[in-house]
């Protein structure tokens, strides 16, 4: 992405960049100002790419050269600890691929789809502004700081720079976000597979395929990744094509036709097995398959969007910015900024940026390309998801994303309600789409994945296969999302288990022993139960679950980003770069404002559609009057809803408390660093011998 120096410094370079700025401004103008007529997706792509290039060339360069002052002559951990395994100086393009594959997940695909209920404009502007000033800044800075500390993790850095209490609070925050993340991602898969024999069959097939690949790479041809992935991919395609036959066969289809609650129990059971089984058997092969499929599909989608250049059917802004939308409740501020977390700013990336990548970076001057650049790419994935959600008819979008409690359970009801909102659609059109994609129904297929799959199928079938292949493309997209979400569920359950073992182990030391089978079983069971509870409640929630859980996930993810950016600010003060600290203070303040407003609204808002507690009170009043309130069907169901309301309110309060506590400790550290005339940041590998001696 970097422009050769000879070009960028000369007059041609200046003209070139002026051209990029001009083109980007025009594209942004078209996006922002067009009203009434539909615009072409190409404008979104052009605007995004121009913004990325300008931000990368100017803002990211400013950060690395002025704020962080990267030093190309400084030895990186990859050289200092070179062992050919964990610490290996790695070519920057290879490392970019590794880092991007590690940060890319389902988040940027789902968030923008949900946010599309407010139109394409608000979400797009937040994705672009958020990545440039918050998301990519966080990834870049954490990567830089970690690489100056021998690849220390975020938790370790918070502990050593801000004290043990702040470190412990941050770790609890990470654990909470894990629970909500796994629940909400599993919920997306359940929503996509419920009552879909084709999708369920294909995703089920990935288990025996992974087992076969596992055995192949362990015993038959050890370590042959390419061979085994190719075999897996071919079998996966076979399962995808055969899935249609299964779904059309009245004898076979019922075996793969499940309600959401049974699917949830299966995923919970699966998560437990995957966490207990040896990694080479199920987790690793599935991970290989999903990583390659993920990256491949993202590239394929990018190419298709550029070649097809579809028109966006969704208006730029819809009436739902007032907070009455069916997909998620709450007004544009703060809830849009919570709904789109990944793709704009994702706290989770701070864990990846302080993971394996800083141990392999060849030279400090590559942090801009890898840290900032990979996040720009992730943001582009979010833009593509936004395009996918808005190229389909708005009527279809709302049919798929509104809960049954709002639009009813028949196509006639749904068409009437949605047409009443001003998005004209007929029952026939709804049935036609369902037939095209090979599903029984597309009503209330919430969670984002099915909508994106319809969008992707629309775009891809334009390029390959036409209408005949829409069904295949739809289920390919579902498979692609389900596969890597389930991989995250496997890996995440393991992470959660280790964290639990670590935490409980500090009280009961015997529990820390990770090789013990008893600990393994108990730890896995507790980890699975934690996210499984929220998943199951989400599935049976008549409002669709996504409505409740996605905002909590967004808040927790932004909370983590707030912690990471607070750490970056503290260290900038310790490095005596406080003059430049606005670079991280700005996004920290914005995230604080968003998470605190959203978190408090989720707790205390008087509107039962938003506030958990007022929702609980509404149901409580009704229970004491002996009246059953829709969508509940019995008093017991109502009591369960009330309990969950209080539980979710507690979680929201916890998230707010965690972020407030960490910022409080951050302020103390900033003050201490500010009053101290000396540099107090402890880095490893600096030229000064006094610091050289410290090996933490």
């Amino acid at each position: 992405m970097s422009t050769p120096r000879t070009v960028s410094s000369g007059i041609q370079g200046k003209l070139l960049w002026a051209g990029v700025v001009l083109l980007g401004t025009i594209a942004l103008g078209v996006i922002a100002l067009s009203r009434g007529e539909s615009i072409n997706a190409a404008w979104l792509v052009i605007a995004a790419i121009c913004v990325y290039f300008v931000a990368y060339r100017f803002y990211a360069l400013y950060i690395t050269s002025k704020v962080l002052r990267v030093d190309p002559t400084r030895q990186t951990p990859a050289y200092r600890h070179n062992d050919g395994l964990d610490y290996v100086p790695t070519n920057q393009y290879v490392l970019f691929g590794h880092h991007f594959a590690a940060i890319a997940g389902a988040g940027p695909l789902v968030g923008p789809v949900l946010a599309a209920q407010m139109g394409y404009l608000p979400g797009t502007l937040w994705i672009l502004g958020g990545v440039v000033f918050a998301g990519a800044v966080q990834d870049l800075t954490v990567l830089f700081l970690s690489s100056r500390r021998d690849g220390k993790t975020l938790g370790d850095m918070v502990r050593s720079e801000m004290g043990p209490v702040a470190g412990a609070i941050a770790l609890i925050g990470v654990m909470l976000i894990m629970v909500i993340l796994l629940a909400v991602l599993a919920l997306v898969v359940v929503k996509a597979l419920a009552a879909s024999p084709w999708g369920t069959f294909t995703v089920f097939c990935t288990i025996p395929i992974a087992l076969l690949m596992g055995v192949y790479s362990r015993f038959i041809r050890p370590g042959r990744i390419a061979e085994m992935s190719l075999i897996g991919f071919v079998l996966l395609l076979a399962a995808l094509f055969f899935g249609r036959t299964v779904s059309e066969n009245p004898a076979l289809a019922p075996f793969f036709n499940f309600h959401g609650d049974s699917l949830a129990l299966m995923i919970i059971g699966y998560g437990f097995c995957a966490s207990v089984l040896p990694i080479w058997l199920l987790l690793a092969p599935r991970d290989y398959l999903s990583t390659f499929l993920k990256v491949g599909t993202i590239v394929l989608l990018a190419v298709s969007i550029v070649l097809v250049r579809p028109d966006l059917k969704m208006p730029a802004i819809t009436r739902f910015i007032d907070g009455t939308g069916p997909v998620f409740s709450g007004t544009l501020f703060p809830f849009l900024f919570i709904t789109i977390a990944c793709g704009a700013v994702s706290g989770f990336h701070s864990l990846i940026s302080s993971g394996t990548t800083p141990k392999m970076i060849e030279n400090e001057n590559q942090v801009r390309f890898i840290g900032y650049g990979a996040m720009l790419m992730e943001s582009f994935v979010a833009i593509m998801a936004m395009i996918g959600a808005t190229v389909i008819e708005p009527g279809v979008y709302f049919t798929m994303n509104s809960p049954a409690a709002v639009i009813g359970t028949t196509t006639a009801q749904a068409a009437q309600v949605i047409s009443g909102w001003g998005f004209t659609i007929t029952p026939d059109a709804i049935n036609q789409i369902a037939r095209d994609v090979g599903e029984n129904s597309i009503l209330s297929r919430t969670g984002g994945a099915p909508t994106l799959a319809v969008g992707m199928a629309t775009i891809l079938s334009n390029l390959f296969g036409g209408r005949a292949l829409i069904g295949i493309w739809y289920h390919f997209a579902i498979l692609f999302e389900a596969l890597f979400i389930l991989t995250t569920v496997d890996a995440g359950t393991r992470v959660l288990r280790f964290m639990l073992q670590d935490l409980i182990g500090s009280v009961v030391p015997a529990f820390k022993e990770t090789k013990s089978w008893a600990n393994n079983l108990v730890g896995s069971a507790v980890a699975v139960a934690a996210w499984g509870y929220f998943l199951y409640q989400g599935v049976i929630d008549p409002l669709g679950g996504i409505n409740t859980l996605w905002p909590l996930f967004g808040i927790s993810n932004q909370m983590l980003a707030g912690i990471a950016l607070t750490l970056c600010t503290v260290i900038l003060f310790k490095m005596k770069r406080q003059y430049y600290a606005w670079v991280t203070v700005l996004p920290t303040v914005w995230l604080l404002v968003c998470t605190l407003t959203a978190g408090l609204q989720k707790v205390i808002s008087g509107n039962p559609a938003i506030g958990f507690i007022s929702h609980a009170w509404k149901f409580n009043d009704s229970v004491s009057g002996g009246k059953v309130l829709a969508p509940a069907k019995s008093i017991t169901e109502m009591q369960r809803i009330i309990f969950n309301d209080y539980l979710e309110a507690t979680l929201a309060i916890l998230f707010v408390a965690v972020v407030v506590a960490v910022v409080f400790y951050g302020l103390i550290s900033v003050r201490k660093a500010f009053t101290n005339p000396n540099v107090t940041a402890v880095e490893i590998g600096a030229a000064a011998p006094a610091v050289e001696g410290i090996h933490v």
């Binding site: 395994l85 390419a226 989770f348 394996t356």
Partner: protein, 66 residues
Amino acid sequence: MSNVRSIFSVAAQTARLMVGVPDYDTYVDHRRTYHPGKPIMSYEEFFRERQNARYTVGKGKFRGCC
């Protein structure tokens, strides 16, 4: 021709590192240069070691992003 080959080899290295397996030849070179006479893992051993390391959550190995 050598250009095509080097592009292919970078792509293959990227794909392998995406799933947590760094370059084997680099590892062998490193052992030969800095630890002469010390044992070097075979590719199969190296692969297993890396596979285990990828999913053993501990210091700085955090898997599963959103």
